[in-house]
Structures are given as structure tokens and as C-alpha cells.
Amino acid sequence: MLKIESLKKNYDNFHLDCTLQVLPGNVTGLIGQNGAGKSTTFKAILGLISTDTGTVQLFGKAAEALTPREKEKLGVVLSDSGFSGYLTVKDLLPVLKNLYQQFNRNAFLDLCNKFSVPLDKQIRKFSTGMKAKLKIIVAVTHGASLLILDEPTAGLDVIVRDEVLEILRSFMEEEEKRSILISSHISSDLEGLCDDFYMIDQGKIILHEETDVLLSDYAVLKVDPEQMKQLDRQYILRVQKEAYGYKCLTNQKQFYLENYPGLVLEKGSLDELITMMIRGEKL
């Protein structure tokens, strides 16, 4: 569905070097801190910025060679950009109908109604939540096969975030081969949605793992200096010094459960995992 290989973009103080893939039927998360390179990656995929080297393939074709008709298969949400705020949702109806051959007016209006998105109000007067819901509704109602969503849940309260995720789940359930690439700096937002995750830091992918594996095999060990000395470190990915000793991130939880029954072992949230991957030291 989407394949990025050795994509490089160099700025003065930032260098992106990214390889990732989104498979048909998958929801792939791209997580990382603010400024890690998520938006740059998205912009490169969408041709909004030029790149130095590397390739981006969408639907098996070089992204820059996509015709407008083929681009209709993309649904995009950008965190900091959208339709002009001086338009109303009603104004968008004929615009979308003429931009997308498969625009589903009824589905669009149903979703606007369901999620209380006003039709007659100018978009600039919308709340953050309303704007976010509108962007998602536009993306899912024109027959897209791939959604590219940059921080669609940023700044949303829990209720609106869940509404947005509900729209995305319904989108995936409607057709098997649909895919989503979604980014967030708060990974717990995406925990229940994504099939796999890429973690990006300082422009580089530092981890790629399936969600099931992340949740079942990754854990944080809390050890004192004495335990640290005796610890088999071959499955330790990162170590972080703490007041009581060390926090260690492993991707082989079972190994330590079986061999070190006395250790304090926490499952760890995805956010904690990110923090460890970024702040922790490699052994």
C-alpha cells in the first residue's frame, strides 16, 4: 500500500532517514516526540516537500507519478492544515463532489450529524474537536483505500479522541484491504487501533514492532545495582539510571520472568516504552 525506502531529507539542523511500510489491511502507527520527524515523513510521502534521496511508493507506483485520479484513493489529515476557515461544511459538499468521483454525500452528512459537526457555521469558528472530526469525516467519505493521518488526535479531549478513533475503526471494518498510516506523539492514543508501530527519533526509525508483540513481549525491569550486576543483558534494549538503581527495557519479558523470578517487572505502557527507547542508553 505504502512503501518508503531510505527516504532522506536534510535540513540544517535535522536529517530524516526513513524506511517504512504500510501493508494492505493494516493500521500502522508512527510515534515519536514533537520534532522527531513524523510530519516531515508525511510531507515527503505527500509530495509537499522535495526529498534528497530515497523512494516513496503509493499503491505500487512512485508517489510523484500519481495522477489526480489515483490521488483520490488517498484520504489525508494534516494537523496544521485544512480547508479554508471561511468556508462552511455545506460549501464543501459540491467541492468534494467535484474533486472525488466516489464522494459519498449521504455518509458524509450522516457522520457530520452523528458527531455534531455543524453544516452552516464557518469552519474557522469551529472548536478544535469539531475541526478534527470534520477533517477525518472528509478523509473517510470519498472511497479512499489509504488514510494518511498526521496527528489527528492532537489537542483533543478524551471524548472527541474516542469519536475520531471510532470513525477510523468503522472505516477499517468496511473494507478488508484498507490501510491507515497514523502518527501521534501520544502513543496510548493509538494502542488499541494500530497493528504495528514505527518509532521515530531525531529523524531515524529506532523501532518497528507489531502491537501484539510490543504488548506481550516488551517490559520494563526495575533492578537495584546488585541485581543489575547479575542480570543477563543480552535481551536488554535500553537502560536508564534511577534513584533506586536501573530501569531496563526488554523485548523478552518471558525470559526474565522465568530466569529471575524475584525481579520487579512492569508491562509498561507504549508511552513508557518510547521514553525508554529515546532517553535510555544502549548497552
Partner: protein
Amino acid sequence: MKGLLIKDLKLMANQRQFLLMLLVFTVLFMNTNVDFVIGYLTFVGSFFTLSTISYDEYDNGYAFLFTLPVDRKRYVKEKYLLFMGLSIFTGILSFVLVYGYRSMVQGNGRSQDLLFTVGSVLLAVCFMMALLLPLQLKFGSEKNRIALVMVVGGGTLIGYGIMKLLGYFSIDIEALFLQIAESPSLIPVVLAAVIGIVLFFSYKISVKIMEGKEF
């Protein structure tokens, strides 16, 4: 492209105060200066194209716009079509309004001078937009005014330079102008052809500008 045109027309329709102001000025000057009415309506109407670019640019709107099934060339083409459409529409509208006013209120249905004014204004609008559209796309609404002053200043200097150069080679530019002026039917044709060429290059430059932009 049709979707983009509808978006721009919707944006225009949402500027009710602006349209109302346009109407008030038209009515106010109808009785005194018809040339002003035609020029004002046509210029302001077609200049709305520049406002639509500002709307697109505002709040980083370009980024989202180019994720839609629209490429940059089509975007530029749409802006040129929009301004031409608006110019022709407002030109015809102003003609109809003034002619209607003359016929019904003043009982004087002259139209030849009006046609001449509409034609001249349309050519002037095309020339201005050929200059302004690439500037607006390149510099955005913020820096565009400074750029315009520089371009007009630069253009004047170049024009002056060309005149001097022609003088240097003993080419009588005045005689050339006189020759054209003596055959009035030729003037609009020559002007239209020149402006057509200018518009063509303006469009090509605008496409290059947009294709080189990063969002």
C-alpha cells in the same frame, strides 16, 4: 479543477459585505462616471482571484490543498481561468448595467463607447493579473506589495533602458507608435496579441513557482 473553482466561488459568495460594497459604489457612480463603474467592477471583480490565493495560503492551507486530487499545474490553471472568467463576467455585467441605466433612465442607448471602455479595461486587467498572479504565488499576500513596487520600478527602468538603446541605434520609436496609432483597427489586435503572449509566459512562470514550493 471544477472542485477548486467551486471552492473559490463559494469563498467569494461568503464575502457578502464586499459584494454589497461593490454594488453601492456601482450605483453611486452610475450617473457620474460610467468609465469608473466599468473599470471598478471589472478590476475589483477579477482581483478577487488574488484574495482566493490569500485564503488558500492562510493558515498553511496550501499543504492540505495539495493532498487533494489536484496537482500544482491544475491549481495555477484554475487561478488563471478564474480571473479570466471573473473579468469577462464583470466586464459584461458592467456593460449591461451601464447600458441598461442609459437606456432606461437616461433614454440614451449608446453602446459603442461602452464596448471600447470594456475592451480596454479587460486588456488592462489581463496585463495587471499577468504581473500580479506570479508575484502573489511567489511572495504571498504579505510580501507581494513590496515585490510589486520593485517590479514596477524595475519595469520602468528596463523600459527607459530600451528606449535609450533604441535611440542609440537610431530607431525612431515615436514614428513606430505613430504608425500604429494611424491605423486604429490594428491597435486592439496588437495589444491583445502582446497581452496574450505576456499571459502565456506569466502562466508558465506561475507553474514553475508553484512546482518549486515546499509546504
